[in-house]
Every structure is written in C-alpha cells, then in structure tokens.
Symmetry: C3
Subunit: 652 residues, 3 copies
Amino acid sequence: MLGICYYPEHWAESQWAQDAKEMRELRLTYVRIAEFAWSRLEPTAGNYTFEWLDRAIDTLAAEGLKVIMCTPTATPPRWLVEQYPDMLAVDVNTGLVRGFGSRRHYDFSSEDYRREAMRISAVLAERYGTHPAIVGWQTDNELACHDTTPSASDSALAAFQRWCEARYGSIETLNEAWGNVFWSMEYPSFDSIDVPYFAVTEANPSHSLAFRRFSSDQVIKFHDEMVDIIRQHAPGRFVTHNFIPMSDTQTDNYALARNLDFASFDNYPLGRTDLFFAGADTAQFKRYMRTGHPDFSSYYFDQTRGLCQQNFWIMEQQPGPVNWAVHNPRPEPGMIALWSWVAFAHGADTVCYFRWRQAAFAQEQMHAGLKRVDNSPSAAYPEVQQVKAELDKLNIELNDPLHYRVAMVSTTTNQWVSEIEQQGQSYHHEKVEFEYYHALRLLGLNVAFVSPDHSLQDFDLVVVPTMPIISDTFIANCKATNATVVFGPRSGAKTEEFQYPRNLGPGKLQSLMPIKVLSVETLREDISETLHFEGETFHSNRWREELGVEENTEVMAQYENGKPAVVRHNNLVYVATLGCVDFTKSLLGKLAAEQGITTFILPEDVRTAERGDYRFLFNYAGEPVRIDGFEDKEFIVGSNELSAYGYAITKR
Amino acid sequence: MLGICYYPEHWAESQWAQDAKEMRELRLTYVRIAEFAWSRLEPTAGNYTFEWLDRAIDTLAAEGLKVIMCTPTATPPRWLVEQYPDMLAVDVNTGLVRGFGSRRHYDFSSEDYRREAMRISAVLAERYGTHPAIVGWQTDNELACHDTTPSASDSALAAFQRWCEARYGSIETLNEAWGNVFWSMEYPSFDSIDVPYFAVTEANPSHSLAFRRFSSDQVIKFHDEMVDIIRQHAPGRFVTHNFIPMSDTQTDNYALARNLDFASFDNYPLGRTDLFFAGADTAQFKRYMRTGHPDFSSYYFDQTRGLCQQNFWIMEQQPGPVNWAVHNPRPEPGMIALWSWVAFAHGADTVCYFRWRQAAFAQEQMHAGLKRVDNSPSAAYPEVQQVKAELDKLNIELNDPLHYRVAMVSTTTNQWVSEIEQQGQSYHHEKVEFEYYHALRLLGLNVAFVSPDHSLQDFDLVVVPTMPIISDTFIANCKATNATVVFGPRSGAKTEEFQYPRNLGPGKLQSLMPIKVLSVETLREDISETLHFEGETFHSNRWREELGVEENTEVMAQYENGKPAVVRHNNLVYVATLGCVDFTKSLLGKLAAEQGITTFILPEDVRTAERGDYRFLFNYAGEPVRIDGFEDKEFIVGSNELSAYGYAITKR
Amino acid sequence: MLGICYYPEHWAESQWAQDAKEMRELRLTYVRIAEFAWSRLEPTAGNYTFEWLDRAIDTLAAEGLKVIMCTPTATPPRWLVEQYPDMLAVDVNTGLVRGFGSRRHYDFSSEDYRREAMRISAVLAERYGTHPAIVGWQTDNELACHDTTPSASDSALAAFQRWCEARYGSIETLNEAWGNVFWSMEYPSFDSIDVPYFAVTEANPSHSLAFRRFSSDQVIKFHDEMVDIIRQHAPGRFVTHNFIPMSDTQTDNYALARNLDFASFDNYPLGRTDLFFAGADTAQFKRYMRTGHPDFSSYYFDQTRGLCQQNFWIMEQQPGPVNWAVHNPRPEPGMIALWSWVAFAHGADTVCYFRWRQAAFAQEQMHAGLKRVDNSPSAAYPEVQQVKAELDKLNIELNDPLHYRVAMVSTTTNQWVSEIEQQGQSYHHEKVEFEYYHALRLLGLNVAFVSPDHSLQDFDLVVVPTMPIISDTFIANCKATNATVVFGPRSGAKTEEFQYPRNLGPGKLQSLMPIKVLSVETLREDISETLHFEGETFHSNRWREELGVEENTEVMAQYENGKPAVVRHNNLVYVATLGCVDFTKSLLGKLAAEQGITTFILPEDVRTAERGDYRFLFNYAGEPVRIDGFEDKEFIVGSNELSAYGYAITKR
Ligand SMILES: [Zn+2]
Ligand SMILES: [Zn+2]
Ligand SMILES: [Zn+2]
C-alpha cells in the first residue's frame, strides 16, 4: 500500500479538504501526521490546543484515509527549553551545549525531558488512542539522528556512573574489566568516572565502549517507555518507528525495535549515495548520482526487515531532489517508481512518500514533495500513480512471510569496536559490511539480516562481515546450524569488555576453528597486495591478519607469500583479510554453489529479488537491457527487456 | 595621484623628516596616518598624548604632503579591554571570546565600545578636523575583516532581539515570516530568540538571514555615527573608508558607503589570487601566481566604484610579496606599475601604496613596502616613479565621470542566501559572479557595478549573476530599461524572508517573464552535462533548473535532453543553469552584439579598459604580444606591441 | 647490550618468575619498570604500596637482570586530579580542559602538580635509590608528548607573566621588544599579558615565541628538579630520559638533556614514516611503509646522540606493528634486527624493546611485543636472538667515543620561528632539516648533531639547514672553525626577539658574509623554478630569497634569471633557496670533496655508517644487492652481498 507524510499545520486549513481529496484520488491509504507539531499542540505549558488536529484528522478520515499519529518529541518547544535548560545535550567533541533552533535538542539522559516527553505522549495517546481513523503510531522521529545519542552533559555523566555501577557492581571489577591499571587510570569510585572525551589523548577503548553501550541503552529506555504509554492507550493500533541506518544511530537498533510491531525506514537513496561515495572519481560518482547505488536502498531495506524479522514500512521515500546532501541531483525519470518497487520486492508492506507538498519555508524548503509549492504535481506524482496501478496486479501480502537462504549477521557493538579502535584509517565498518552485501547482491541473492541472537538453522549460507565481540549465544547458534558460516577479519578479536583475547584472535571462535591470529597489519586505502584463490589472483588490502593454522586445516586462499588468507574448518570459513569485490563475489559464489543455492549472472547494473510468488528485475542503467534466461517467464509487469531505469515483475 | 601609508609611531622621530623629504621626491601627494595608533594617542584612559602626532603631521606638511587622518578604532588598547571586557566579540563557530592580541577585537553591538570608539573619534576630529594639512579622513580600517561582523555575545543577542522586534513588530509576525512552525521552532517572545548558531543541526535559513541583516546593520550604524562625528568637526574634508571585498565583509557595502564621499579599496592581487584559486592545478596556479588573475583586480575596482557610483581610491596597493596568504610569491617585474594603471583605468583617482617602509616587527614584518627595513628602495620603488611620470602625460580627472554601457547588479543579501542555503557544495556565490564578470572582460567590456536600487536606464546590457531575493524597486528598474537584462539561475528563488515563492521560482520575476522553475538539481564540481547554444555544445554544471515555459517563449539554449536552459522574453534573458566560461562568453557576446556594443577579440591574457579619452591595454602574460587593430592609434604610453607584463595607453 | 620494557603490574604475579627467566634466556641485560604505575604505588593519597614492586624487582634481580626504575609522573592517579583540579592543562586551540582518562594530564605550570610529582619521585628515589639491582633511572615518560608543552591555564598564564617580568624587567622593554606599538598591542603591565591564543587574528610572533620559550622552560624546570631529587637519593646510578623527537616536543631538548647522563630515544620507524610521508603517492608510500624511510631512524638517533654528545640508548624499539599511526603495517622480516643494528651503528650502547609482552587491554592492545598476548614469541623474538649473537662478535664500547667530520646544527627555537611565521604553507622546518640530512646520508656520511653553542672546530663540514635566530656564540663558533659552513635559507632572518633585522637578512651573518636578502617569496608545494649549478639544472622551490651580493662574491648557483642563488664567502656558503634533493646532494657532495671527506656511491636504498673500527651496510630494499668496493673487507657479520632487508658489518 502507499502513504504520505502530511503536515496540516504548515498549510492553511482551507486547503486541507482539497489535499485529502487528492490523496484519495491518488489512491493513497495512509497519512502520517503531527510529527513536529508540539508547539501547535501545546503552545504554552499545559495549554493544549488539539482542536485543529481533530479537524485535520476528520478531514482526512472523511476521504477514507487512515492516519498514523506521531509523538512530537523530536521537536520540543522553546518554552520547555526555558523551563528545563538541562534538557539540552552537550556536544562530545566541543563541549558546547546543543541548543534550540532546529530539532532533536534534547538529552536522552535528562530526567526532566524524559518526564515531559512521556507526558505529552500520554496526553496525545489518551486523546487519540482509540480514534477510529488512527490505525497506528510512530514514535518520535528518526531517533538518534544528528549524532544525538551521545552527550557529555552532567545528566549523561551521572546516568553513566549509575549504569556502570549496575553493570560492574564494584569499582574494582570495572577497573579490571577496562584494564585501567594500564596508565594508572584506575577509578577510586563510580562517582569519579568521566565521559570518555576531552582526555589528553585517546581514551581507554573499554571506557569508550561502555559509554556507547550506556548511550544506546538510554535511547532504548526512553523509547521503550514511550511505546508502553502508547500501547496502554491505543489498543489494537500498531506502533512503529522510522529508523535511520544503524550505522548512523550509535544505538542498537535491534533492541530499540524490540517492542515495535514492525520497523520503518526513511529512504533517501541519492543523499546517502552522495555521502557514501564522496571519495569516488568523476565517472564512478556520476554513474549512480541520480539512481543511487543499485545495492544501497535494498541494503537498508534488508536491515530494516531484520530488526523485527517482519515486513517493514518505508515511512519516508525520497520523491525528488532533497536539500541535505552535499550535492542534490534530480532522480532519473522512473526512479521513484523503481525505488518503491525495490522496497516492495525486499519486504515492504507500505511505502509512504515524504512529503505531500514541498514546504515553502524553513530548513527543508529545497526538499521535493509529490506536489510543488504551487500545488502542481511534481515529476514523482505520475510515478506514484503508476506504482499503485502495478500494485493492484499483485497481491503481495498473500505470499508473506519471506524466506531467504542467505543471512548476514550484523550488530552495532561491532561497528563501535572498529570506530573506537580503527587501527587503520582505511577500515570502515560500514564499507566492509556493504562490500559483502554488494557481492551477495551481484550474485542475485536475497539477504536476511539477523542479530547474533537469531537462530541460523533456517539458512544455508551465513555471512559475518566482522564480529570482534562474539557472544556465547552466537557460538551456540553457529554450532547448531549446517549453514556455511563465513567470517570476515577482526571476528573474535576482542573480549566482551574490549580486551585482547588471551588466546589471541579469533578468540571464542577458536572453540569452533583451530586457528590463531598471530599478527595484524593495516594498509593505506590505495595500497594492495595479492590474494590467490582458485587459480586466480585477487587483491588483499586494508586489514590483513597473519594466521597460525594446524596442518590439517583447509587453506582456501593464500597471500602473496603463500601463507593462509582464507581457511575452512567444517562448515566455518575464516577470511583473514579484506579484499576486492571480485574476490568476495568469487568466494561467496563458490560457497553458495556448494550449498546448492542458485546464483545469477546479471548485467552489472541489474539486480533481482524474490518475494513470495514473484521475482523482480531492476535496471539501474541508463540503457535498456535484455535479461537472458527469463524468456519463458510469466511477466506481471514489464518484460525481460528492461527499459532504462526500468523494472519487471514475473511469476517465479 | 599617488599616496602612501605611513606609521610614524613605528619609527624613530629622527627619521621622519628624511622620510617626508623622500616622499616628496617620489612625488607622492597623500600620506595616510594614525590608523592603529590608539595606544600612543591615549596610553591610559583619558590621558591624551597628541603632541607626537602634531609633530608628525607638521613634518609631512612641511614637505607639502597632504594628510589623510584615520580613526584608530580598529585597534582598541589593552586598558580599554580591561575596563570593558564585554567589548569583545564571541566567535559564532566556537563560542569562544575573541580576545586581545591582534586587531579588530571589538563587538559592533557593544554599547560600551561604541561609546568609547565615538569618543576617541570625536576627540581626534575636534583636534585635527580643521588642520590645514589634513585633507580627508579614513574611518576605522577594513571594517569587518577577520569575520568580525557576526558575534554570538550577549550584547549581540540582546541587540538582535531588539532588531527583530523593530522589524517584525509582533512575535507572531516573526514566527510566520520565518516559518517557525516547521519544527516547532516558534518563539514565545522576542526575548527567547537565540543567535542562529550552536543548534543541533542547521538553523532556520530565515533566522540566519535575519541575523546577517542585523549584523550588517550593526556595522553600518557604528560606521554612520563615526562619519557624522567626523563631518561635524572636519568641514570640507572628504571621508572615505578602505573597503575589503563585499564577499568578505558580511556587510552591505552599498549601505555602509552611503555617507562617504567616495569608497576606497585595499588591493592585494596576489594574496587574493592565492586564496581564490587554491583548488587550481599546478599549471593554472602558476600562471597567475605572480601577476594575479587578469580580472581579479579590476573586479574589485569596479565593485568599489559602484559603491558610491564615484571614482574611487586605492588606499592600500600591494608593493611586493605579502605575509598573509597561504603562499606569498613575488610580483613579476612591472606588476606594481601595471596594477596601478589598471586601477586608474577603472576609475581610481588616487593610488596609495601600503606601506612606505616594511615594518621591522610584529605580525606584518614579512609584508613588503616601497622601502625595505634598512631603508633601501624595494623593487616597487622605481615602478612608482615610472607610474608618476606616465600619469603626468595624461589628465585623467578631466574626462570623468565614466560611463559604461554594461552593468552588473550585485547585492550582499544574495550572497548570504547562497551561503546559508548552498544546496550544492559546488555553488559559490563569488565564483558565479566572477565568472560572469570574467566573460564580460574577455569581451573587452567595461562593467559598472550597481545595486538593485540603481536605475538601469543608462545601460544597454545588464547582467544579474544571481538574485534570489528581488525587491519591487528592482522589478520597476527592469521594467523601466530597454537594456537586455540577463539573469543567472536562483534569481527570484526566495521571498524577502527566505521562503520559497508560492508561485515557484523565479518568483517576482514571473511578473516580467512567463516561466516557472519546476525543479532544481545541484551537481558535484567535477561533473557536467551538455548545453546546446547556437549550434555549438557547451557545459551545464553545478546548478541546473528545470523550466516550465509557455509555448511562445524563445528558447535560446537547451539542455542535453532538449529542454529549455536559456529563455528570452522581451528584453529579459533567464539562464537556468551555471555553465562553462565559453558558454557565458558566447551568450553575453551575442547579446552585446545585438545591442550594438563593440566587443574585442584579444589574446587570452590581455585586457582592455577605457576611461575618458583613453583606452588602456594590459598584458598579463610573460611574453610580449602584438595587439591587432591598434596600429593607427595615438599612443601616450607604450605601443601596440606590449612587452611582457607591459601596458599601453592610447587616445580612443 | 639489549633490554626490555616490562610492566609487572599488568600481569599476574605468578607469571613474573617465568618472564624473568625467559628474559635471561634471551640474554637481555636491562629491564625498565614502574613507568605508569603510580595508581598501584599510591592507590590513595599517602598510602604507599611498594611491596609488590619490591617483589617484582627481586624476581628480576634473581635472574641477574639490571633494573631501570622510572618516576611514574606521566600518569597521575585519579584521586590526585580530584584533589588538585588545577593540575590539568588547558588546550590552546579549544580552550577546553585536557582531562583525565589517558596520560600526560598535567600542566607543567601547576605548582600543586609539581610539588606532588616531586614528592612521589622523592619517595621512590628514597626507597630504591641504592637498591643493588637498580642501575639507572628514567624520568617521567616521553615528556611533552601529545602536545602537552603549551597550556592556556590560569597557572600557565600567571607563570608566563612572571617569566616575562624576569626576562624583560620592565613592561616598556617588553613592548619595545615585541613591537607592540604595531597594532596598539602595548601592555600596560605584566599582569595584563595574555597567552598568544584566542585573538581575533594571528598573534604577534614575538609574543608567540616568548610563550614557546616560556613553555619550554617550564618543562625543563620541572624535569631538572626531578633529576636533582633522583641524584640526591640514587648515587652512582645513571639518569636518562626517553625522548621523542625535538620537532614534536616544543621543548629545547638540548637544555632538557643537560643534567642527564645520556639521552634515550623511543624509536618507532613505521609509525613515523606513516605520518611524515602521508602526502606521498601510492608507489612512494608503499616503498618504505614496512621498512621505514632509510634515513628516518638514524635521523633521530643522530639527534639523540647530539643532545648530550654521548652515546645513547634506545629505550623503546618498535617490535612489530603498532597501534597509533594512521596505518599500521607489519615490519618486513628482518627489520627489527636491522633497526637494532642501525641504532648501534649510530652510537647506541643499548637497545631496549617495547615491550616484553603485548598488552591485553587498554589503549595499546594492538601494539606488538616480543611476545604475544598468549605468551608465544612474536616474529621479533628470533630477530632479537640474532642481534644478541651478532653483538657478541663485536666489542662496540671499546672504540667509543665516535668522531664524525660532518655536523648539522639544529635548534628548537628555529623550528618555532618557522612554525609561528610559516610565510609559505610549503615550508616545513622538519622537512627542510630532513632533506639536508637525507642528502648527507645518500653520500654515505655520518652526521653529528650539535647545538649552536657547541664548538665547530672538530668538524670539516657543517650544515645549518636553517637558523633564523643566530646567537653571538654561534657567530663566534663559525669564526673559530675552518670547516665549510653551509647555511640554508631563512638563516639570520630574525632577531633574538623575532623582529626583522634592521640590516636585512641574513642579519648577524652579515658580519661573516657580505650579502643581503632583498626579498623573499614562497611558492606552493607543487611549483618549482630552475637552479643552475655546475652546468646542471636543478629545482628551486618553496622558499626563494633574492640576494644582494658584492661584486667579488663567489656565486656557486644561479636562479633561472641568472641571479645568485648560492654564494660563498671564505669558508661560508649561503643557500638562498630550498631545492630538490638532487641539488642538495650535489652541492654537499662537492663541498665534502673539497674538504677531503670521502663520500660513497651506493644503491639508493643502501646506507652505510661507521662506528669505531667497524663499518656497517644496511639494505632497505626488498631485493638482494651487491656492494662494490667492499670485496676485500673483513666481514664480521654478512658479506658484501646484502640480502633483502639485510646488513653487514666489516672492519674498516
Ligand atoms: Zn581485485
Ligand atoms: Zn564548455
Ligand atoms: Zn631537481
């Protein structure tokens, strides 16, 4: 189904009815509202003015639209900041208070703000919880966006000290766990613990990891309380949150999503491509600047689906040029439709576009909408009509839930480890994970993201791009599966408290594989050595581990000096180096084939995905392309001759 | 005429007489003094010690030199800072107090400093206002240099709140004007308004624009009061200010110059070239590193002339290597003379060199003077002698005022708009404006800079590189002219309060042209698309607007997809994209020709200008060059065979 | 001899005995301990717990190992920070307190910290000063590392004001010395002086230089007091300090070393190469990333030897990949041995490796040791065994002290000058000095570093890469020597108080050479002009001075315009420009030959050094190489056919 983000408070009330009528005519199902409206719902302390919102909801409901209500806590009003100045966070890089004047100006550790946020959530939930037009709720908005998870405020510090006390019990245990003896960093008491910023040189990584865990927990605690309040007053309504990527949140999104009905994602392929590929040369950069990288939307869609292991929503879909990236190109014609279908192909149940009409003021006035500021339809409008018409030809829900044979295990803790201790500037956790994902997608494979706590028994191939800190549960999950499990370098390289394993890397993995990491080197981004695999030569780069292996270990690939670079023991494969995409694709292709998983040979810019009875084909290239092997398929949408930026849907 | 900047307080009094004698022998007319001398004029509060200055003036006057006196307010003494610590500004990026120890350490919003600055100005003006040797006054020095216009101090905040109250009347009007409803940013009262810095993410652009307008107003208010004081006590003396480029001041230089007799400029071609072309490759960078870019001095000269629509002064002319750029090369031999003549050709009445003798101490000891530290003449000295000899052959004042057929409309507000909302990192306001200017100069055209309030009736070709915010006055000026008016992209893209026009871009321009901007995209610096114009192919890049035009609109150039990129309606031309210099030159050349304006085909590094009865030719290349078509001219200086870094002056 | 850094407090006491036994078996002589152990030696104020350290020393002594004891003052414990919050320094860039949580969190100007640091030093020295196993002491650790010399604290400011009072006597003298009249920067009293940071634009360079001198003096004063305390209680024991390069300390290492028995150095060739060559292209960077630049270790070794004009120690030798550079590659096989021998060849008496066993926790857990975390020997272990076996074949001490014919004069003051007034971004003091050193080493010459106070009479060729501020002592030393003395550009360019010499550059050098620097230009890194020398063409770049010379001056090299670039007068040579390495090598080669100094023609990656009766050859290339001219030598180690990363030692 399709939906829209709408801000009635931004427009004259006289326009609402026409807007609602046009939404119905566009055959939208859902409308999300009230996200940033706190200053209009409570203009002064305790003075609630819900009447306009009542009328807005009624206007939408009159056209049969279903409403998603939001808690407005991402944008506390000015009067609240004046009442509780301590609600503001403190920047961990500059020590400056992060002030009012934009959004997300609150500290997750502020007791005052927490209480006020829950109060307004409760008031809203009480008033609208059982409103017949309201079918679901969104909590806050893009939690943790703008690096708001960590704070160096007094509130955060006090809460961190209590968190440490709860985790470690005694200060001696903490000092031991962090290895504080190293530089006489031993704390005499929990009250003497600092935030891990503003030290003379780098902080103890164990300290930094503890603070990240704490900060993540604060976001989750804040959010869980809000979910509880909504559930209490809004029986039978779904509760979701519009996530940004876990790599941006500094929060364990799996845990954050735990109490939700499903996860939602805000999808901005061009902005994300612009930032992620900032280092690309002209030709590379231009290639995807108006389409987004072919794997970049699905990468986040598959992650979002993994949060609740449920089909998900796109709560905000980019409808044209945006305002916030470094450069903001126009999507190629057809991309809005293509992106929408990529979302459905990867498990979306609903795609909502952001936003109905482009705002005429403030920070996002250069952000496109389905309608322009003058209410004329933008380029995206007919593409939405097209998607709706095509959706009618399929019945996507019938075939759910999805089942994939390939899984990727991701965790935020392990991103933190490599951010805290990068060791080589060329090691970027999110690029490492993306490279593995990209290789799997080039092979035409669907990928299920799972947390380490998730059983691996349903899968045939499991990829762990990196997992420095491995839990006992995950070891047990590995033991219990027959899947081939592939580990990237750094796996098992740290203990739970960010120490070096006394038995060397890969630490706990040694209980499954008889190997040891003898030394590690990191290389500059532009430098590579060679890797021998299956008679071909590939590249080893960035992070390279020297392995000690027992004689009977199978060596799958070797370094330039003949020493083992990829080894296999039983169903486990350990990759001791980062490599080029060609290598990763070759390795995973071989392992997939051994497990009887069908891979595809597709043109470079074509991707495929399956959902239920359907197989989807997407062409990110600016030229038409013919896909071999699909001649005999029954096409619901398109054909095996894909147009430029075109797609096709066939029965499997 | 020629002049010099002199700091008697930097040298032993025993040397003054010889210096003055040599200045006379060099046939200088003017000497500027006392600019930074506050600590010597008032060593402790209220203890004035003018006697040395009296003697210095007398010494200069005894040689027939005319003196320009300065208010010393750019360098308040230490004791004043101790008395009024609140006079210091606060850095808007770091929140740190901008302390004593260099210069410009004051906040334009400090009431204490304003009062003290006016006091010292009045004391000076009273004492020296009618001194026969003093012919004119310079206010302060390079106002707003070192990013001193904005401040995040308490004084600035309080003044900003009052400024908002005066501008908007009610807080509801302000909230509406800024669109503060967007993220619940509504202010309950004027006292709750913040400076637009230190927020969690970007501030509301309307808020930012208001703060820039306010900050500019504070500079102007400060300066106007000082001008009034001088005029009160110094009847018949001119008052000027030595401006730095408007792109650096964050102040509306047109308004700042309003009460002056004429504007002056401090001209440092090498330093500015070093900074402006920092991204250039080796060959490009080396080409102009010792000459300055051929259009770089005149670009600022023409701007300075536009401030008062009067001939101007160069108050400081670079005489050799300086100290403050990233790299500080030596000018090529002859450049001091060439730059001086470029100034005269573009409307300077006087060129003063900075400084008489290189300082032997403090921050600028690596800044060349006409004389070296040991009092030997530097390389510039004979070049100044040469300029004076050549000046004697012309009578430049007789033919003034100048009249140009081509105008460029510039405003600081529109620079602010594109700085506040860059939208694409490749969009640089000052580069866009410079590219249009550069194209006009390659065509050999003289360019008058005008503010939007200036009548356009005297011109035949008017170029508006960009003007997001268009005033009604400017619309009226456009209607009243028969000139061809060329608008660059972004024109009319914003309302007066930095909102998106409800009728889309180009906003108010739609009253003159039936076009609409349907969407905007920005591209990375290194990426371009194609532009078809007059049967040739050019480049479209950085900022690209999609136009909706009526059927009968003339399309002058088209995008790669055939859609309109440049359109014409009556005498108005709208350029919807940035392009390469070749395109801009071709377009403006065609439009000039249509208006019967003669253009020139000159070697790439040669420039021409006209003033009164004279035409000037300048060769920025290191090789001699022969200029075709000037064989029969009567040359006052040089000939049609220009030497390396040479120039010639001919009767028109 | 060989030694090791050991941290018994990081390991279970049960492991100590085995560690000591293995150290003896590896035939190590020295063990350095207690460096960062304050929190274990005094867990709460005044509560000393030395018993564990007693036992650790006894365990080591039982195996015949000799102990170097350290004062633990680089890492004050948390309780001390709570007791004296003013002991923390303030960052001169951000104004933020530099907090607890890593190391070096103290302000050299804090009276409280100074007293406490001396107290713990005295307590330690009293307890262990005459312990028979303890043969020497190390003060603190890497003083000034992490930019800890300067501080903007209240303590530092107050101490600076008193330092100024002592240096200048009256505020008038100070104002005159600094040229504060320049921008009315005159201070009314010593109490009004600021730190030279946080001003609106650049501070007065004289002010900045004074603050650097002060800051350096504070480090020295702190250190001298500590040395005195140790000497008082530890008769007959040597006292040393483990220096980092003078370019990093912002301290006059010559003065800092004055009271030591000898200087030690912490040698990390790969990390330093990674940082120093960060701008290199792929091939250049890769070439030395696993060997370090061939001149990069010896460059610092020779400097360290120069501090006390004594043979030195390597107190910490990199034993494998480290953790702190931007990228951390693995040393090539054999490099640990090669680096050790380079140290001995350049005058080391002892090489200690850092550290015995890789730490399993905290900031440096990715830093290799001789043993891995699991106690297995790392790749360095057998290389240490090899070095010890080879050492047994030589008797290095017998032939000391060393004597070199070539000297390089270095000072930290002159680094400060070029950092404070860079004038061209391409001028890097440490690169300029290194280029001269590199050229000398390519010629196979051993280089003695000396301070300007050191007699030059023993040398035949003296190189002064740059010396803006020249002392009278140095002028006298130049007069007293028959050596050829080569001055690089900027020499004599400043007075003692950082003013421009009234007689122009090279200032005081004019008493020795009849030349004047008429102007200076700086060029961007990638731009060069030509230099004519001995009939060949070389490159002149970055810093170029125009010279005025008397007619009879010998011009050795000329600029592209024929003007003098290198001149000679008597035994003095003045090089007025920076140039390419080929030029510097050619010039120095010619001058060495004229003095009868034998130079070598060696393969590009081979270096030679002599010590006593021995000559050493080192091959930094990955291929074997045969050295011509050594066929008949008596080789103690290796032969004239060097293996990849190999070395040889021959009788001279
Ligand atoms: Zn490859
Ligand atoms: Zn072009
Ligand atoms: Zn060269």
